[in-house]
Point group: C2
Chain length 334, copies 2
């Protein structure tokens, strides 16, 4: 069973997951290309994944057979285990807890070759809707404190399989990055009595501003953040305040799908075959609506290696000013 | 001029350094191998680096000519600029400051092909001594708050040049990772009235413990940390309490050189052609001796890609238990 271990100095939690070692092609030094015909996510290979948790089957086909347009399955090499209790224990000065949670794969479409940026808007909306549905279901599990949706696109971004898919990991503690955002946003709210994300959207949408704006449409804004960690980093957020992505509806899925796909297509125009991650940051499970926090997506293109200075300092070095990245993305043919 | 920008939500600082964009071979998508004969760090190519800051020249040769055994030069593509004032300014809700600091390269030996693990102990000690010397000199600059020594070994670890070298970046603020260690170590000290690093070393050195011990010799211990972020992550620390690496002496250089080189040789036995980073964490510039902090080196092998979940959560997923890594390193022929 995986376990969570806490660093006694910095306080960060690490997931120790020996099961993940079974994925040898994920290790850079022994990377092997995988032939498309062997893809476990293609129609006809349903038996190669664990039984499906959810699928869209417009033709009424049986579970774990072809006919689906979107499929959610448990990850075969899960970082955290679905079963078990949240036991905590100590080893001398060290703390650990059982690695309880969930790790699922959202197979975005049956088409091996068509990435998220190339799906029809209704298909992207179906992916977002499936994410909301899985989050709502996992939030009912009291052991789970957070559900993180993310995507690894391209080998430099950590993808081990080419077939377009997003993932979800549910964790028994709120992740550090999210907690830091919650804490920072609360400090801002205590001083300003306004949401910092609302203020960011407003400043970037000002007629005199706009130097970091990528696009604004249907109540959503895509922008290059002022302190971008990565070249062409782009955030997408709703202009109207909302702390929980999963409390949205079909109208949210449709509008966000349009802005997300156009942003990804613009990125593909500017960067040749971009590898990227995206992550969805929303309030923790079972939070009431929060005045100080605002859900958003962060798209993180992976152009440069993270090296010793970054690991050792926590600083990011970014050679591309966000104003320049936003201008290039605005000018690109979507 | 580079600038530091602060993220208004999470509070983290990013270094925006357009000069770094001139290093195209550092970008994964257009990586080009560089022929050894074109190496700017080899003897005879001294004119290809900025003028040297320091060199060991046992033959009394002139600066910026061959004859050196170790050479420290400014990085040609610095992340931070040596000149300028530490001005702070705002843009709406955003904060920035001038990117003042230093970025230097420590060319470890004239030999292009011999990595740090293959240098003689006296040569490794000379590298450590040069690091101490540069740190002491930079600490005299009141604009500088921290000097981070690090190394990128191998392309997956972010190295853009093969010739063995370490680097140093001096920053006008204490890096987040170091501040988090300082804060965590202080919290521990306030409760226990002991240094957490001293307690870690003691627990790992116990006869009943030792499951994460790699080696212990000459007052230094190499261990696989309990909450290892990376497979085969190894920390080296002095057993006796000391908060500042740069206040050490030639005896420290010699003992640490022996343990560092043996640890790297053991890693090379266990992992085929390992790519790794190492970083040296020490107290901030001009700190008095701190009871709660303890300098140490962190060696971070780079076997797996950091992907969306890690970026979005701050969790690390490590498939290799440190107990297993330490056992393999202990058994390896050094």
């Amino acid at each position: 069973m995986p376990e969570l271990r806490k660093d006694p100095v910095a306080g960060r939690w690490v997931i120790l997951s020996p099961e993940r070692a079974a994925r040898p092609y994920d290790f850079a030094s022994v990377a092997l290309p995988r032939a498309a015909q062997a893809c476990p996510f293609c129609p006809g290979s349903e038996a190669e994944t664990p039984p499906e948790i959810f699928a869209s089957r417009p033709d009424g086909s049986a579970p774990d057979t072809p006919g689906w347009t979107l499929r959610v399955v448990p990850n075969r090499f899960p970082a955290l285990a679905r079963e078990g209790e949240l036991e905590r224990s100590a080893e001398g000065l060290y703390d650990r807890m059982n690695g309880v949670g969930a790790h699922e794969v959202i197979i975005e479409s049956p088409d091996h070759a068509r990435g998220l940026a190339r799906l029809a808007p209704a298909e992207v909306a179906a992916v977002l809707s499936a994410c909301r549905r899985r989050m709502a279901e996992l939030h009912a599990d009291p052991r789970i404190r957070y559900v993180l949706i993310f995507k690894n696109h391209g080998a430099p971004a950590g993808a081990s399989l080419e077939h377009p898919h997003a993932q979800l990991i549910a964790t028994p503690i709120v992740p550090l990055q999210v907690q830091e955002e919650l804490d920072g946003a609360l400090r801002y709210f205590e001083i300003e009595e306004r949401c910092v994300f609302c203020d960011i959207a407003a400043q970037e949408l000002e007629p005199a501003g706009g130097r970091r704006l990528v696009l604004a449409r249907d109540g959503y804004v895509a922008l290059a953040p002022y302190a971008s960690r990565f070249p062409y980093e782009t955030w997408i957020l709703p202009v109207a305040h909302a702390s929980a992505f999963e409390r949205g509806d079909a109208a949210q899925d449709a509008a966000l799908a349009g802005v997300l796909s156009e942003t990804l297509r613009r990125l593909e125009r500017v960067l040749p075959r971009p590898a990227y991650n995206f992550v969805l940051h929303t309030a923790p499970c079972r939070s009431p609506e929060l005045e100080h926090y605002h859900w958003h997506m962060e798209i993180l293109p992976r152009l440069a290696e993270f090296a010793g200075f970054e690991w050792g300092s926590g600083f990011y070095i970014n050679p591309t000013p966000p104003e320049e990245a936003a201008a290039a993305l605005r000018c690109a043919e979507p």
